[in-house]
């Protein structure tokens, strides 16, 4: 059947009539919601969805407002990156096994992509997976892994053939974070916190049934994941904005105002408004079925604005800007770029132009894919990975 707003709303109401969240265990309610196809309506039937249009999810959320949710902030990597990839490349068994507990939040996911030697140039990664019968033995070191210490599963890209050019020798796996040989160490950042981890993989054995996609096809599979990551980072609407926070400080501290800061702040206010309008226009284009290339630029603009605004706030605060709220080495569950105090915001914002694609890489992408400018001469495209200069 073709779902529309009325029929989806009807189904949600029917579900609620049969499942009273007040009378049920939270997890049971979420599982039932998944089974009713009301988790993500654009997923296929039987996998938490109805095969409906993605837009109709808003109808479900409206009807189920106030019922227990799956705490999406805690399981963002599973929802945003693992799920679309499993859906696109997983076997039926994998989809059945992983998607329900992923969506309900029973199983947290993390991402094992970046390595100390492979940042912007992810495809050069060195973690090896060697086949032994029905198993793969994985050795290597991953980094910038959030939620690694709470995760049950990871999405993992490893090199299975060093003898071919770097993009072609990769394979994508689901990694069992409880397997022997997986060691997670918190990675302290300049903010004092450890949002991320280093993950050491030593002789980790994964059954071949945890492979996602074909052997050697890992780069293509990873593109699906990364595309979703960049959308997630650039586009997340936050309740408080950096401009809002800095404007509050400006209003509450009239004695700190100077013309220098005022002129800079007005410029950044205009820039923020222009970015907001750009995002509005981008969403309109998406809704009209003409996704524009503007998305690539949003993360770039977002990082710059966060950095300039937070830097201005610290300067504005003068003596208060010399203070910091807390250097305690903690492992926060979630991150809020505009949370905590000015010093934290300033330091954390520095990561905005690095994580999930550096601003340099994003400019390359815009120049080449949007403006059609020629790529630079490449020495690494057709050389076997093992023969690349290091």
């Amino acid at each position: 059947m073709a779902w529309d707003e009325a029929s989806v709303a009807e189904r949600a109401r029917a579900f609620l009539a049969e499942h009273d969240p007040a009378a049920m265990d939270r997890l049971e309610f979420l599982r039932a919601r998944f089974d009713a196809g009301l988790a993500w309506v654009h997923f296929p039937e039987g996998l938490g969805g109805l095969g409906a249009s993605r837009d109709l999810q808003a109808v479900v959320e409206r009807e189920l407002k106030g019922t227990p949710d799956n705490r999406p902030g805690r399981i963002g990597i599973g929802l945003g990156m693992a799920a679309p990839t499993i859906l696109a490349f997983g076997t039926e068994e994998q989809k059945k096994r992983f998607l329900r507990p992923l969506w309900t939040g029973e199983e947290v996911w993390c991402q094992l992509f970046s390595e100390p030697g492979a940042g912007s140039d992810l495809a050069t990664l060195a973690t090896r997976a060697v086949r032994e019968g029905d198993e793969w033995v994985v050795d290597g070191q991953k980094v910038w892994t959030s939620s690694a210490h709470t995760a049950r599963w990871a999405i993992l890209v490893a090199r299975t053939d060093p003898g071919v050019p770097k993009h072609r020798g990769l394979t994508y796996f689901v990694c069992d974070m409880h397997a022997p040989g997986v060691e997670v160490r918190p990675l302290r950042q300049i903010t004092g916190e450890a949002e991320f981890n280093e993950v050491f993989l030593t002789g980790v054995r994964l059954p071949d049934s945890l492979r996602l996609g074909e052997v050697g096809d890992g780069w293509r599979v990873a593109q699906t994941t990364l595309m979703n990551e960049r959308v997630a980072i650039g586009g997340t609407p936050t309740r408080r904005t950096m401009m809002g926070v800095v404007a509050e400080t400006w209003r509450s501290r009239p004695e700190l105002r100077t013309h220098d800061l005022h002129q800079r702040l007005l410029k950044l206010w205009v820039d923020t408004e222009v970015m907001r309008l750009t995002a509005v226009r981008l969403r309109e284009q998406l809704a009209a079925g003409h996704p524009g290339p503007e998305g690539s630029g949003m993360k770039l603009a977002f990082a710059r604005l966060h950095q300039e605004l937070s830097g201005l706030e610290v300067e504005l605060l003068r003596e208060d800007g010399l203070a910091y709220d807390d250097w305690t080495f903690r492992r926060p569950d979630t991150v809020d770029f505009v949370g905590r105090e000015a010093g934290y915001r300033y330091l954390r914002a520095k990561g905005n132009s690095i994580e999930g694609g550096t601003s340099e890489i994003l400019r390359n992408i815009i120049a080449e894919r949007v403006l059609g400018l020629p790529a630079e001469p490449r020495a690494d495209k057709d050389v076997a990975w093992k023969d690349l200069p290091r």
């Binding site: 005022h262 002129q263 205009v270 226009r281 603009a301 120049a367 059609g372 400018l373």
Partner: protein, 389 residues
């Protein structure tokens, strides 16, 4: 309200662009600029006639009941994008936007009659106020209406006056202020007993020069009058004009970006296209992002102006949209034109390449109808970011 272009708008754009492609290529604009620099006519009368009458852009903002198209700022903005992209030497902004807006706000019989003439393209008008005037500090009238019903005084920095059959001039009255309409028939202009003299000033912008307009007991009709010294028609015309100027700036910036990208793809140095050098790529990526933002901001201003009442004062939301669009687009057009010259290298410094026409237009537009700094300052209140005490 949408920030996208509607189908009607895209059709209008296509019509304007086709005409400009056929009759107003960069080489033609260059030729005219060259002759304008030597004292020739700055505006292309043939092109303007085709635009105004055949496509009907002159009457876009004029209501249907007065013989116009009854379209909105959205359509006028699309026309301005195309005119900016071509740095077309036509008096659209001066007549069909600034003068028309002043008449729409003024209202009344004389305004209605004039709007009817403008809509058909039969007449062209100009608002005799300096293009450098900011909507946040519109100048007091420098001309006055005598008891004999004639206007006397000199206004500087006026755009589109050379092409105008009617000049709308703010005047001091015995009591209060007014807006007068002065006809500048060819027999009067330039004659020995000239009542209106329009002198083109050697201008930075070769495709839209400024002029000095001298009224010497010029017969005039009163379009509107007001108590005090405020000139509501002028303010509203300048503010709405500023909002629409952002679309012209967008067009200028787009041409510069597109032309530069095309050039660096072709131009080779060190056996590579210049556009394959990463520093060049990154600068163009940054510029592209600015232009993308300029489109969103200009569209937003046009959309909110389209929703604003034609006659009444602009609401806060529209006023903010205008200021944001101008603060951003004014700077983007200059930046795009400067990068265009720089990345063309030596050829960008030559008169024979059209880049300089865009640079000069962009720089003049940065001053026109309020500088980016003026528009930012105007946002301090609405943004809740008060200035230091």
């Amino acid at each position: 309200m949408t920030l996208l272009y509607t189908e009607v708008e895209e059709e209008l754009r296509a019509a304007v662009r086709d005409l400009l492609t056929d009759t107003c290529p960069p080489s033609a604009v260059l030729d005219r600029a060259g002759s304008a620099a030597a004292g020739g006519t700055p505006y292309d009368a043939e092109l303007w006639k085709a635009l105004a009458r055949d496509i009907g852009v002159a009457g876009l903002l004029v209501p249907e009941e007065l013989g116009g198209a009854g379209a909105s700022a959205r359509e006028a903005a699309v026309v301005l994008e195309e005119l900016g992209r071509a740095v077309a030497p036509v008096p659209f902004l001066s007549s069909a936007v600034l003068a028309t807006q002043a008449l729409l706000v003024a209202g009344g019989e004389v305004a209605g009659e004039l709007l009817g003439r403008l809509a058909t393209g039969e007449a062209t008008a100009a608002l005799a106020v300096s293009f450098a005037a900011s909507p946040y500090a519109p100048p007091a009238p420098v001309a006055s209406l005598g008891e004999d019903g004639t206007v006397t005084g000199t206004v500087t920095g006026v755009i589109g006056a050379e092409a105008a059959d009617v000049l709308l001039v703010p005047v001091r009255l015995a009591q209060g202020v007014g807006l007068c309409a002065v006809e500048t028939s060819p027999t009067v202009q330039g004659s020995a007993e000239e009542a209106v003299r329009v002198t083109t000033v050697t201008s930075l912008d070769l495709t839209r020069p400024i002029a000095t307009v001298e009224f010497a007991s010029a017969p005039a009709r009163i379009v509107a009058r007001a108590e005090g010294l405020e000139l509501p028609w002028v303010w509203e015309a300048l503010a709405r004009g500023a909002g629409l100027l952002a679309s012209e700036q967008l067009g200028v910036a787009e041409w510069c970006l597109t032309t530069t990208v095309a050039y660096v793809k072709e131009r080779r140095q060190f056996a590579r296209p210049v556009g394959s050098f990463q520093a060049v790529k990154h600068r163009l990526a940054d510029l592209w992002l600015e232009v993308v933002g300029a489109r969103a901001a200009a569209r937003n201003a046009a959309a909110l102006l389209a929703e604003a009442p034609a006659a009444g004062p602009l609401g806060d939301e529209a006023a903010v949209a205008v200021a944001v669009a101008q603060a951003h687009c004014g700077a983007v057009a200059v930046h795009a034109a400067e990068e265009c010259v720089q990345l063309h290298g030596g050829i960008g410094m030559t008169w024979e390449h059209p880049a300089h026409l865009y640079l000069k237009r962009a720089k003049a537009d940065q001053i026109g109808l309020g500088t980016p700094g003026d528009h930012r300052d105007a946002l301090a209140g609405p943004a809740g970011l008060p200035a230091p005490m």
